[in-house]
């Protein structure tokens, strides 16, 4: 309360208004900026090209239609519900009908509207179309990002929907990486939907309603809640800390950096030829559930923790530097330091757009926190993005002692839905 009064009384220009505070994805983040001597105006610079102004206001709606799907370059929201689906029907027309229904529902939900005939006011004898838990909540920057997995094209040697020849070469089955301990019930999937929002209830509502619309045609294979973003696509914002207490993912691709997006994230017209033409404007997503050995990490000395990452814990500054965003001097880090291994300079300039979230799924029955990073990375070609990077990290990263990859999936992300008559995957089925 006193915060409101202070804000009102403060001379204009010195303190951000309450609206501006809310406008920056939660008061905590904004207050952090204030404490660091920044102002809302300073935060806004560099966000002109992308609708970051509209899109970073926490209650607002992110446009659903566009050349690319939202939820990739979009300023990272606070919460995640990611779902992977098995397609249970073998009828191509039914699948197409579902994707049309899904698209309609997604357009409504991202605008803050209820699905179908709404949550109330329908026939008394029928269950309502919308499940209702998002009634009265703002759109909360909800984005729904749709993808298709390798098994949609071919499963057990079967061309299930006549799509086999449409499978892009870049949509590979990920190789086995050293240290992988993958649980098949938390891996793979024919379809995926990434729901990101600033309100967890809005994200969960979206997945729940899509699943419900799909029963009989699809079934949820696995899903993951994420409660804290670990990367940002807004370079002037502070990089959030992961569950290890470190800022990781600092050098991410900005949602406003169209040149970098075109080079590293979006599938270009030239990439998408012949049967792969449907992917132009799309991207590829790798999702990994990375469990952290939280308790052993917590018993590790500060020095070792900092050496493992190659950053200091307080600022996130690379070894020998002062600030988080200072250019790292890789050679002063240990050869096994995470930052050194993952940095584009160590990988021929390879960059991926990271959009991961911290997760905690309670405890594991042995009294240990079941927590870690739900890693999400978008890229133009998995073969030149995640795969070489992870091969290197899996073989050398000092962090491996404290983490284990337990879930894995890869999806082709079609281009955006262009308008009211368009639907998720139209180009693929055309």
């Amino acid at each position: 309360m006193s915060q409101d009064e202070t804000t009102t009384d403060a001379p204009a220009g010195r303190a951000p208004s309450r609206r501006a505070l809310l406008g920056w994805g939660g008061a905590g983040l904004a207050l952090g900026a204030v404490a660091a001597g920044g102002t809302a105006a300073a935060l806004r610079t560099g966000s002109d090209a992308q609708p970051a102004g509209a899109d970073a206001t926490s209650g607002s709606a992110v446009p659903f239609h566009g050349r690319h799907q939202a939820g990739i370059a979009t300023a990272v929201q606070d919460r995640l519900h990611f779902a992977s689906f098995d397609v249970t029907t073998d009828d191509r027309d039914e699948l197409i009908a579902l994707l049309k229904d899904w698209t309609k529902a997604a357009a409504r939900m991202t605008a803050g509207d209820a699905v179908g005939g709404g949550a109330v006011g329908g026939p008394a004898e029928a269950p309502p179309d919308d499940t209702g838990e998002a009634l009265g909540l703002p759109p909360s920057r909800l984005t729904l990002t749709f993808g298709v997995g390798p098994t949609l094209f071919e499963k057990d040697g079967k061309d299930r929907f006549g799509l086999k020849k449409r499978r892009p070469e870049a949509l590979i089955d990920l190789p086995k990486f050293s240290g992988d301990n993958l649980d098949s019930t938390r891996s793979g999937g024919d379809l995926c939907v990434q729901a990101c929002a600033d309100d967890p209830q809005v994200a969960v509502h979206a997945i729940r309603n899509l699943a419900r619309i799909g029963f009989g045609k699809i079934a949820i294979r696995w899903s993951q809640l994420g409660f804290g973003k670990t990367s940002s696509t807004t370079p002037d914002a502070q990089t959030p800390r992961n569950m290890m207490g470190f800022k990781d993912g600092t050098h991410n691709i900005a949602g406003t950096d169209n040149a970098a997006l075109d080079q590293h994230v979006w599938v270009g017209e030239k990439d998408a030829k012949g049967d792969e033409r449907w992917m132009a404007g799309g991207s590829y997503l790798v999702a990994r559930r990375i469990r952290m050995h939280i308790e052993t990490w917590d018993r590790t000395s500060l020095k070792e923790q900092e050496d493992v990452f190659g950053r200091d814990k307080a600022e996130g500054a690379p070894v020998g530097r002062k600030h988080e965003r200072d250019t790292p001097h890789l050679k002063s880090m240990l050869p096994t330091a995470h930052v050194r291994l993952a940095h584009p300079d160590s990988n021929g300039g390879v960059r991926i757009l990271r959009r991961g979230y911290s997760f905690t799924d309670g405890t594991d029955g042995l009294g240990r926190l079941d927590a870690g990073l739900f890693f999400l990375a978008y890229q133009r070609d998995v073969r030149h993005g995640f795969v070489p990077l992870q091969q290197k990290l899996a073989a050398n990263d000092a962090l491996n002692e404290y983490i284990q990859h337990v879930g894995s999936a890869v999806f082709a992300i079609p281009p955006g839905v262009r308008g009211a008559d368009d639907w998720w995957g139209r180009e693929l089925f055309a």
């Binding site: 098995d86 249970t88 026939p123 004898e125 029928a126 269950p127 019930t185 419900r212 029963f215 009989g216 045609k217 079934a219």
Partner: protein, 383 residues
């Protein structure tokens, strides 16, 4: 297990009232009909009624059996719900029965020889609110459903008796073999039994459903003794008798249950709810692991209700009918894959069904239950 739905609660209230009314059959004093009574003259081939239309309210029926066979007389509301009845009316005797009757259409049936559909007369109770137009297709569906539920109860009793006899004989193996089979009729029609309110807690409560101080009776208590304790106690033998008594009560009350298209449709959905929360998880039959036969019986019961409502559904919502046909067929086919000729009840023990297979079963339950939840609205819309 019991459902906690408001529709069921309402049904219980109405059922309780009707039970009270049905108990009002006046004793025959041999002096003929009282003032304003409707005379019903039954013979071996006829069922004459003195008035085809009479005012609604407290109605008295004066029955004379002029035939050579023992007869019985029923007053049915649409869907063959029994408003009142009198059995064992001997040749040449007189009986008087009464009922509180609301305005609407009814049928009076005489059943010479006390069997069959009976010789019926259509009658009308006049008064305010009598103008509700009925859909004969839906009335026929309700009446056929009630007949089927009654058959299920009638067929359950001898099977339950076999089970109870084995328990009373202390024969664990025989009791185990007859346990699951004795439950099939119940599981197929559970929502109707639940609508009575008091029978379900006596016969079908699970360990986790018990409240503090409640004595555990019924099938699942015996299940625990047979499979977990591996011992039949003296109390268990009494419980076996009690089970039969309670099931006979159920069998008698089916005819008076409030059944209408909405309760039928919601009942079908509730059967799938039962599968989703109790069977797929293996909670229902946690000691015997005979969940799959219950699962199958629940689906059959839901399918029966749907099939009877289908002529109306096909007209009102053909896409829904198509989807339900498909999903019922799919889930039954999937259950067929779990049949085991060597098991006493014909299905594999649920503890041998792996996590992945349970997930697939659960997916099929979702696939069927979602469209099934739209059935009630599809039959309610028809006027």
């Amino acid at each position: 297990m019991r459902a906690h739905r408001s529709s069921v609660v309402a049904a219980i209230a109405v059922a309780a009232t009707l039970t009270a009314v049905a108990g009002c059959a006046a004793k025959s004093d041999g002096k003929g009909a009282g003032k304003g009574a409707i005379a019903v003259t039954a013979s071996d081939s006829d069922c004459k009624v003195s008035a085809k239309e009479f005012p609604a309210g407290h109605v008295q029926f004066a029955v004379d059996n002029k035939g050579s066979k023992v007869t019985e007389v029923y007053v049915y509301a649409p869907g063959d719900r029994i408003m009142t009845e009198r059995e064992n009316i001997g040749p040449g005797t007189h009986a008087e029965i009464t009922a509180e009757i609301k305005p609407g259409a009814y049928e009076i049936a005489c059943k010479p020889g006390m069997k069959g559909h009976g010789i019926r007369q259509k009658v009308t109770a006049s008064g305010k609110g009598a103008a509700v137009k009925r859909n004969p297709k839906l009335d026929a569906a309700v009446s056929a459903y009630r007949t089927w539920v009654q058959e299920q109860a009638d067929q359950t009793l001898p099977k339950a008796q076999k089970f109870a006899d084995a328990v009373k004989a202390g024969d664990i193996e025989a009791a185990k073999k007859t346990y699951a089979l004795s439950r099939v009729g119940w599981e197929r029609t559970e929502p109707v039994a639940e609508s009575f309110g008091d029978i379900d807690p006596k016969v079908d409560t699970r360990a986790d459903g018990l409240s503090d101080g409640q004595k555990w009776t019924g099938w699942h208590k015996l299940e625990q003794s047979l499979w977990e304790k591996k011992k039949i106690s003296a109390d268990d033998k009494k419980l076996a008798d009690q089970l039969i008594t309670d099931l006979k009560d159920w069998q008698k009350r089916v005819g008076k249950a409030v059944i209408n298209p909405t309760t039928m449709a919601n009942g079908a959905k509730e059967l799938l709810d039962e599968v989703a929360t109790g069977k797929v998880t293996g909670e229902e039959e946690r000691y015997s692991h005979t969940d799959l036969i219950d699962f199958h019986a629940n689906v059959e019961g839901a399918q029966k209700a749907y099939e009877l409502l289908k002529p109306v559904v096909t007209k009102n919502d053909p896409a829904l009918a198509k989807e339900l046909d498909k999903q019922f067929a799919a889930i039954l086919k999937q259950l067929d894959g779990h049949r085991d000729g060597k098991s006493a009840d014909g299905f594999a023990s649920y503890d041998t069904v792996g996590k992945g297979e349970r997930k697939t079963l659960s997916d099929s339950v979702n696939a069927l239950a979602e469209p099934l939840s739209k059935l009630a609205a599809a039959v309610a819309e028809s006027k």
